[in-house]
């Protein structure tokens, strides 16, 4: 799973441009399940279990990542861009990016600190004043390399560091994709549906369509969520803690979770000796927000890998948490299929 995750994180795939991620996932699950791509680009897989399921269970993870889209080119050959998904301007100034199909290298520049007024030394420029510099001498030469509408991804190396941590762009939510690939390849007790969904970061658009198509009784959203377990933050402000297993949500900004499912997840984890923790803040949102409202309603559960610095070129999580998230997703899929 580690190599799969590394590969998945390296692929570009902002919302609406998930094709490279989808192609790779297909290459990994082909021969292990039935699958098709729907109208929006969601990759829907059906995995036959050793037994048929009493309830239809859908496991979801989104394929897209946050990034940017080129909106125009200046006369000087610099690229203007818009955010795709929520990104704090602080984390991408002074970073490398890759633009378009050919992954043209570029950088996000800033007026040197020497030339800013003393009182502005800490002021982050507004995103609209920033540009991507690909080194072009002017508009014409820039347009030979890139076009408005091109996707822009963070250029993020995959690094293993510290005490079992990994750091990369797009761990949100290639971690979920890696878990689903692993489950599909490993064989399941009960029949199960999977949705590798598009466009989560721009408003959970893909999952709305795929949930309608699959029409599940239960859904498990496999995600990443903020771990604020950094120095100086204590108690429930940490939201969840790296190394303590999947965060189980009772409520976030887009979903009030089924309380029985939430409890069952924590109980099951305990029984099976899988690390798990409660997500201790009502924050964030994910595909569950779209899925629970699908058709006449779906009972949903979200299990998330605790991840620091989400939506940045350097998301940080513990590999062992991805493994325990997979284990609990698998256990819960079985529970829900037969209950």
């Amino acid at each position: 799973m580690r190599e799969t995750l590394k590969m998945l994180c390296s692929l570009p795939g902002i919302s609406g441009r998930e094709n490279k991620v989808r192609d790779y996932i297909i290459s990994q699950i082909d021969g292990f399940c039935d699958y098709h791509t729907d109208n929006l680009g969601n990759l829907i897989a059906f995995k036959k279990g050793r037994q048929s399921a009493k309830n239809k269970v859908l496991i979801d993870a989104h394929m897209d990542e946050v990034g940017f889209i080129v909106t125009g080119v200046t006369d000087d050959g610099l690229l203007r861009f818009a955010n795709v998904g929520g990104i704090d301007t602080k984390v991408f100034i002074g970073r490398n990016v890759a633009v378009g199909e050919k992954a043209v290298p570029g950088v996000v520049g800033i007026v040197p600190v020497h030339l800013t007024e003393k009182e502005d030394e800490n002021k982050i420029p507004v995103a609209d004043s920033l540009y991507i510099d690909i080194g072009a001498h002017g508009r014409e030469s820039a347009l030979t390399l890139v076009s408005p509408g091109d996707e822009v991804c963070f250029d993020g190396e995959f690094t293993e560091f510290g005490d079992g941590f990994i750091c990369s762009k797009a761990i949100d939510n290639r971690a979920g994709c890696a878990i689903m690939i692993d489950l599909i390849r490993s064989g399941l007790e009960y029949d199960c549906f999977f949705s590798f969904s598009v466009q989560e970061e721009v408003g959970t658009r893909g999952a709305a369509a795929s949930a309608f198509g699959v029409a599940p009784d239960y859904a498990i959203v496999t995600e990443t969520t903020t771990a604020a377990d950094i120095s100086g933050v204590t108690g429930e402000d940490r939201v969840c803690v790296c190394g303590e297993g999947p965060a189980v949500s009772f409520m976030d900004r887009s979903t009030v979770y089924d309380i029985d499912l939430y409890r069952k997840a924590l109980e099951t984890a305990k029984q099976k000796n899988i690390k798990a923790q409660t997500k201790t803040r009502v924050a964030g949102g994910n595909d569950a927000g779209a899925i629970h409202k699908s058709r006449s309603g779906v009972k949903v559960l979200t299990l998330s890998v605790p991840t620091r610095y989400l939506h940045s070129p350097g998301c940080v999580c513990k590999y062992e948490d991805i493994e325990s998230t997979r284990d609990l997703v698998k256990a819960m899929a079985e529970e829900l299929a037969k209950c």
């Binding site: 984390v91 043209v104 040197p112 402000d237």
Partner: protein, 341 residues
């Protein structure tokens, strides 16, 4: 590939650490390259000094140190507190990937405040260096094994080849200057020159102590310093500053030797080397300020290489400008061959 000599020198130099006061790995790398042309030593403050020929000659200076961070404390939870070394720009450090140069080099990342803990009044603001933390992913015990207060930290960044002959990298300030001097010596190979004294000076970013002490120990009374300067970009005026591709920017300032500066510009015209004047109203903010007043005074000139995004991990330069700077220095040195400057 165009400008392959300059590119390979610059890429090698930019791959090294060398935060002010701990220049060793960059200085040793540069010293090794310089030793092809002349005997080399490190002086008391750590500057690389090379001498070719007897007696006072032309001094060539570029600084070898780079901006960075210094560890002030290793916390019990494994996170690091830091202070800046030189003019590190806090606005580009949130979420930055870094290398901590402890007992061994380890990876770290500058923490960012999660959205639910961000205060309204801090919106659009970078934290202060006092609040900055580095995540090592280690427990306190593990971190203390490897990292100690005083260890230096550099921001990670690749050497990126952009369109045309532009590149982006951390510490083009002032590895571009070091590369220009090495390239100049390459161009002069096999030619007779006046005596040369080369200095890759330590501690420029923290105030120029390296150049000040270094020059005192040399004999020459003429110095050419090479540093980087601002290149035009959105928010950096084209009228006021040079642009990428302008070539060697020859400093004209009250504190610089007007005769040498003028000659450099004239020579560029004669030899068809791209160059432009860069005018400043007082001191230059470079090693020239320290070099000029050493010993009984040194005639000092400045050649600057324009870069964008100074003091970030994505400093952008034009390789042609480094090549032009090297060519202009070589032409000047050749012109004065046979003299004791």
């Amino acid at each position: 590939m165009e400008y392959s000599e300059v590119r390979s020198l610059l890429e090698g130099l930019c791959g090294k650490g060398g935060v002010s006061g701990r220049e060793d790995d960059a200085a040793d790398f540069a010293a090794n390259l310089l030793s092809k042309y002349m005997p080399v030593k490190r002086d008391t403050l750590g500057s690389v000094i090379g001498k070719k020929g007897e007696g006072g000659g032309i001094i060539l200076d570029a600084h070898i140190d780079r901006i960075g961070l210094i560890v002030t404390a290793v916390k019990d939870d494994g996170f690091l507190k830091v202070a800046k070394v030189g003019g590190s720009d806090i606005r580009v450090l949130t979420g930055a990937k870094v290398t901590i140069h402890g007992k061994k080099d380890i990876f770290g990342i500058v923490t960012s405040t999660p959205p639910h803990l961000a205060k309204k009044e801090d919106e659009g603001k970078a934290p202060s260096f006092d609040d900055m933390l580095i995540d090592t992913g280690l427990t306190g015990e593990e971190a203390k094994e490897i990292v100690s207060p005083g260890d230096r930290i550099t921001a990670n960044g690749s050497f990126l080849t952009l369109a045309g002959t532009r590149v982006a990298s951390p510490c083009i300030d002032d590895r571009a200057g070091v590369a220009a001097i090495l390239r100049c010596l390459q161009m002069l190979e096999g030619k007779s020159t006046c005596p040369l004294e080369v200095m890759f000076s330590a501690q420029e970013e923290t105030g120029g102590s390296g150049a000040q002490a270094g020059v005192f120990g040399l004999e020459g009374s003429v110095a050419l310093a090479v540093d980087v300067t601002f290149a035009s970009a959105p928010g950096v005026s084209k009228e006021k500053y040079g642009s990428l591709g302008d070539g060697a920017l020859v400093g004209i300032a009250p504190t610089l030797d007007y005769e040498i500066s003028s000659r450099l510009l004239a020579l560029a015209g004669e030899k068809d080397i791209k160059a432009k004047p860069e005018v400043m109203g007082g001191r230059t903010g470079t090693n020239c300020d320290e070099i000029q007043t050493q010993r009984g005074g040194i005639k000092t000139a400045l050649i600057s290489i324009p870069i964008r995004n100074m003091h970030t991990s994505v400093e952008v330069c034009e390789l042609a400008d480094i090549e032009a700077t090297a060519a202009l220095m070589a032409a000047y040195i050749e012109e004065r061959s046979g003299e004791n400057a």
